[in-house]
Amino acid sequence: MTSRAIPATEPSQPAIPADLSRGQLLEIYRYLRLTRTLEERLTALYRQSKVIGGLFRSLGQEGESVASAYALERGRHRDILSPLIRNLGSLLVMGAKPVEILRQYMAKADGPTRGRDTNVHFNDLELGYLGQISHLGDMFPVMAGITLTFKMRGEPRVGLVYIGDGGTSTGTFHEGLNFAAVQRCPLVVIGEYNHWAYSTPAEKQFGVKDLAEKAKGYGIPAVTVDGNDVFAVYAASKHAVERARRGKGVHFIEVKTYRRKGHAEHDDQHYVPPGELERWARENDPIDRYVKQLLRSEWVKEGDLAEIDASVGEEVDRATDVCADERLPEPASALPGVYADPPAADTLWFRRV
């Protein structure tokens, strides 16, 4: 960058990294806090059996989710990302609303998929997010196609897609990434090394040490960053996004992080070595680290953060109040919309006799 924004800090303070402003620092903090608070609320609703199916937490991975998405251009018809179940923060950054997440997990009639699909499996292509399906890797070919379209139309837009360490073992991950690399699609990949694929450790998924090594096989540049360092993830993502926007093709960012909850809430994590979860929580929580850095460098004041905490709490309370007692979908609403034409499947005869 040749020009910098007006410094937001006093000269005696260390400069804020990656050209972020003080306002942006607080905005990032808000998304981090919102992600964690919303998931804590979901856990409570899960224990009350109000969440219908499984609940997938991103505890410990909020930093890389929020920071990577924050590097995109947001707004209508701008960049598009495809999140996984542990990228709730990315969805929120792109403009998904807490009430939509809550409705989706509780299968409400007025949720984004009207009770048809689960958790973060929903989308708003105008705002720029396309939810995954459960088959890991499948969003790679799809995001290759979306970013191929950006290229075909000469639009200065970028796509971003997430994959976990386990997900890189799938065929569609390979096929999609290779396709995007060959076509030089404007696509950024966030490879999340969170150590666990359900109960399977990374060393049983692949023979390389770092996910970034895999990128060599596709002829694309790759970097490994500390996934729990918000600034590092943001800076690497920003670089990759700008590079993709300039027509330089695919870029792979490996974020080393840690999945501190089970695959889903039912998973008791008995396979995790004793002390490991506690150590990551104590020493390497992405939000704690971010807050410490903000306060130590005096970029923000504790009061600013407390204010955000309070407003996030109120926002999640309000969203819960709005939708917790909403109705489930009408049973027969299961039939329309399989096709554009015909508009609905027929009710079968035994329901009519």
């Binding site: 799809v142 196609g145 979306i146 075909m152 999609g176 396709f179």
Partner: protein, 326 residues
């Protein structure tokens, strides 16, 4: 008015849609400079450029998935499977991602996945398949399977214009064997979901599609001449959704039904058709619904073996004769 082949009709349909709508583009293996393994897209890259005729890696899942992503963004991709046998590599993308997209997420995915299918050409187990049954029970997909040059053109054009994902199965035995006069300048659009009465008759109906439409026509002619049996033939053209009305109409016309397909028997489309006739026109039947299909084995290579496994014209004659006498 010149006669054109099934393959040329398909080519014309693709070409006209590319000319008509700049959102239409083609992706697949060797579709560009080589023009496709069967030359369906020969000359396309020269006319439309590499951006609209894309040579891809050997990655059927990526081809279909990328087509889906582009379709979400408003494009109208036509994905070629070099041989339709390889569509199984994209089974996950088609059934889990593409077919469910509108229902679960409101995503429009107007893609066409097309490719050469079928046997009678000594292609062996992996260049002869008929994959329709694998996709037939997937809500969200449409499947078309033309038998005539007119429908080869009319269905590719309708498939491209359809707002839902369409599998377009083109029988390679028909590519250069079938010729038809198609008036130049006529807009040929075959409606998806409508069967075609390929021959009128009164004693017995054959419900079929694809290459076996032609074998059934041969059989009907033989039966007429040798036995004086009048056979009606319904060419389904679209398998998903099935044209129930046309099937029941012919059942009520002749009261006897022989269902013929080249695909293997168990779990094949014929079973579903028989079930529907049983549910919707049971009292109109004067005999059992019978099937002529391939035997339940992978399709072998040697001519003696392939001919034994696949349904032949003579098999249809014998089966129809048996049913007519029932």
């Amino acid at each position: 008015m010149a006669e054109i082949t099934f393959l040329e009709a398909l080519r014309q349909g693709l070409w006209e849609e590319m000319e008509r709508d700049e959102r239409v583009f083609i992706l697949g293996e060797d579709v560009g400079i080589y023009g496709g393994a069967f030359k369906v897209t020969e000359g396309f890259v020269k006319r439309f450029g590499e951006a609209r005729v894309i040579d891809t890696p050997i990655s059927e899942a990526a081809i279909v998935g990328a087509a889906a992503g582009a379709a979400h963004m408003g494009m109208r991709p036509v994905a070629e499977m070099q041989f339709i046998d390889f569509i199984s590599c994209a089974y996950d993308m088609l059934t889990n991602y593409v077919a469910t997209a509108r229902y679960r997420a409101g995503l429009s995915t107007p893609i066409v996945v097309r490719g050469p299918c079928g046997g009678y050409v000594r292609g062996g187990p992996f260049h002869s398949q008929n994959p329709e049954a694998a996709f037939f029970h997937t809500p969200g997909l449409k499947i078309v399977y033309p038998a005539t040059a007119r429908d080869a053109k009319g269905l590719i054009k309708s498939a491209i214009r359809d707002d839902d994902p369409v599998l377009y199965l083109e029988h390679k035995w028909l590519y250069r064997r079938i010729k038809e006069q198609l008036p130049e300048g006529e807009e040929v659009l075959t409606p998806i979901g409508e069967a075609r009465l390929a021959r009128e008759g009164k004693d017995l109906s054959i419900v079929t599609y694809g290459a076996t439409v032609w074998k059934a026509l041969e059989a009907a002619e033989a039966l007429q001449q040798q036995d004086g049996v009048s056979v009606e033939i319904l060419d389904l053209r679209t398998l998903l959704p099935l044209d129930d009305a046309a099937i029941m109409r012919t059942v009520k016309q002749t009261n006897k039904v022989l269902i013929v397909h080249e695909d293997t028997r168990t779990g094949g489309v014929a079973g579903e058709i028989a079930a529907r006739i049983n549910e919707q026109a049971f009292e109109w039947l004067d005999g059992p619904i019978m099937r002529v299909t391939a035997h339940d084995v992978p399709l072998p290579y040697a001519p003696t073996l392939e001919d034994y496994v696949l349904p032949q014209t003579d098999d249809i004659v014998k089966a129809a004769r048996w049913l007519a006498a029932y």
